[in-house]
């Protein structure tokens, strides 16, 4: 390593030699950087899982545009929408289809008394509202009263139950005083607000939620004629529909707004964002502490180097060399530990928690930046290395 660094730097790798000279401090510093990396990677992982879980239902929508209530922030909130908007949308040139989507939440009580929260989609079984093949294949089944399809990824429920349902053995459970017969499964996965999804027909949905009305769905999914340009149609729809109760966006835009709201306005998103900041601060403080102590302990040597004729750039090089070594060597174990924790957390929670190369690269860059910043702050102490004081 010393030889390699010597070749890379074109000089004695003093920073590296200083670090390895005090192995206890090096180990503590690497543990600190690794801890900060784990903290940031985990928080970003949770943030990523939040975004991924927000995106899951949007990915299921067989739509180009989405008409929602004008006060809608997320898929689950916002006022119901007059179904009349669906008919109005169908009059707009370029619109091929418009279909209502009803959205609700139910509790699924388990034999052990615990509750699983399910997001419920009420769809018109005569239309392919969702683009999930497992759902499309069972639309006829759910057109029957009180029949449902369930998400096989519902959190903390035995997989054998879903295997039995998938094998043709219906499962019944009580929801809001009604007995639902689950005849099939599909896979979406839970998020932060629900453990999984349930898909029923619009009629079954209205029986489950008697206070809701067929004339007031939550969203209207709009598909466009093949080859149609969405932008002008979007404008025409916006001009046609009253802005005081409805808003038209592409599915991607609606997801973007939902994501922005949940990550910046809701506590869960803020907590994860705050966690990232805390992780970065912890890393900066730890690395700064190590580097500034190191600089302070070598002030006389640095002053000697100054007397010999080394410039300030040389000392900055040593401190940054140390900072970058700490960053890289600390990130690697932090990354490996995070991979393990991702697997554990994803298995335990069912959250879509996955490491991406982009995130790993981002955190590595961030770790390098964090260590470089710490090094830059620590180099201020170098000014105290006055060679004239050596005499």
């Amino acid at each position: 390593m010393t030889i390699l660094l010597g070749h890379l730097l074109g000089r004695l790798p003093i920073g590296w030699l200083q670090l390895v000279h005090n192995k206890t401090r090096l180990a503590a510093a690497l543990a600190g950087v690794a801890f900060a990396s784990v903290l940031v990677l985990m928080q970003l992982g949770f943030l990523g899982a939040l975004v991924a879980s927000i995106k899951l239902p949007y990915d299921q929508m067989n739509a180009d545009l989405l008409i929602s209530a004008s006060d809608m922030n997320t898929l689950a909130d916002g006022s119901p929408l007059p179904r009349q908007r669906m008919f109005e949308a169908l009059t707009v040139k370029g619109v091929q289809s418009a279909t209502p989507l009803y959205y609700g939440k139910v509790e699924w009580k388990q034999p052990d008394g615990t509750i699983r929260n399910l997001d419920v989609f009420g769809i018109d079984p005569s239309v392919e509202t969702l683009r999930n093949p497992a759902i499309s294949a069972r639309l006829n089944d759910i057109s029957l009263s009180d029949v449902a399809l369930i998400d096989a990824r519902v959190r903390n429920v035995s997989k054998s139950l879903f295997a039995k349902i998938a094998a043709g053995e219906p499962y019944r459970f009580e929801v809001k005083g009604r007995t639902l017969k689950v005849v099939g499964t599909f896979e979406i996965g839970g998020g932060f607000s629900a453990d999984g999804y349930l898909v029923v027909s619009d009629q079954t949905f209205l029986r489950l939620f008697p206070q809701r009305s067929a004339g007031a769905p939550n969203h209207i999914l709009v598909t466009l004629a093949p080859g149609a340009d969405p932008a002008p149609i979007l404008e025409r729809l916006r001009a046609t529909l009253p802005a005081d109760d409805s808003i038209v966006r592409t599915v991607e835009e609606t997801f973007g707004r939902d994501q922005a709201f949940q990550t910046t306005q809701r506590p869960v998103g803020l907590v994860f964002g705050f966690g990232v900041v805390i992780g970065i601060l912890v890393g900066i403080i730890i690395v700064y502490q190590v580097l500034s102590t190191d600089v302070a302990e070598h002030l006389k040597e640095y002053a000697t180097f100054k007397a010999i004729g080394y410039s300030q750039r040389f000392f900055l090089g040593i401190v940054f060399e140390e900072a970058l070594i700490l960053a890289i060597l600390g990130f690697v174990p932090g990354f490996l530990v995070s991979l393990l924790l991702y697997t554990v957390v994803a298995t335990v929670t069912g959250l879509p928690l996955a490491m991406t190369w982009a995130r790993a690269a981002f955190v590595l860059m961030g770790t390098l930046g964090m260590c470089a910043l710490s090094g830059a702050i620590a180099t201020r102490k170098l000014a105290r290395a006055n060679p004239a004081d050596l005499f």
């Binding site: 007397a307 010999i308 050596l390 005499f391």
Partner: protein
């Protein structure tokens, strides 16, 4: 101290010698600001001879360290003229001072070796400052110097495994490996036994003879003073005696 052995008194005429590596004229220096401002050097005039070993004597506070650091480009000249190796240091900026320092060798009272570098690597530091071109054969040059100084068996030892005297000898090697034009030394033999001290000073004398290396040394070591070519005595910021020795 017996000054009777001295034979030559240096005069102002020496200030105009063209080959003098250091020429100081009318040098004044102060420390502090405002009412606390205190003058440390008073109209110092001095020229060092090329290749000679000059010893600077004086009590604590006499101004010898201030003079040494000014000549060593470690402080900025406030008033007067100081020409080092043909470069006027009065008004010089930090960059020029750093460049000048690269032509000098420093031996401090404390060795200030880098604890994580071996003896060879510490010596290399004195060479690396001159750039890649100077690094060719650094191992041979460093080992050669360390061997001369009696450390041939400890080339790859870390300072933690060397005695105080051995560390100081590594520091001497570090100062000399870059083949400096002038060596400034502050009590360099304080940590050395008699033989090592004489050996180190003999090396400086030899460099003076063979390469023209000039040495200015602050020391109170009487056995070293007997080897000096010239002894300058300072008192209260002034040169009060300046003589060559037999």
């Amino acid at each position: 101290m017996d000054l009777s052995a001295r034979r030559e008194l240096y005069t102002d005429g020496d200030l105009n010698r063209p080959d003098a590596p250091v020429v100081v004229k009318g040098l004044n220096h102060w420390f502090g600001e405002g009412e606390a401002r205190k003058q440390a050097l008073f109209d110092v005039n001095l020229a060092l001879e090329r290749g000679k070993l000059t010893v600077l004597l004086g009590a604590s506070g006499s101004g010898k360290t201030t003079l040494l650091t000014l000549m060593g480009c470690l402080r900025r000249v406030q008033e007067g003229s100081l020409t080092l190796l043909g470069t006027q240091l009065a008004g010089a900026d930090e960059r020029l001072l750093v460049q000048c320092r690269r032509r000098l060798g420093f031996i401090f009272q404390a060795h200030n070796l880098h604890e994580s570098l071996t003896a060879m690597e510490n010596v290399r530091i004195g060479l690396e400052v001159h750039g890649k071109a100077a690094m060719a054969g650094w191992e041979r040059a460093s080992a050669h110097l360390l061997k001369i100084l009696g450390l041939g068996e400890r080339l790859h030892y870390l300072p933690g495994n060397l005695s105080g005297g051995q560390k100081q000898r590594v520091a001497v090697a570090r100062a000399l490996v870059g083949n400096p034009d002038i060596v400034f030394a502050d009590e360099p033999t304080a940590a050395l036994d008699k033989n090592s001290a004489l050996n180190a000073v003999a090396l400086l004398k030899r460099l003076g003879t063979e390469r023209g290396t000039t040495t200015l040394m602050v020391t109170h070591d009487t056995k070293i003073m007997s080897l000096a070519d010239r002894i300058i005595t300072m008192e209260d910021g002034r040169i009060v005696d300046d003589r060559g020795t037999t």
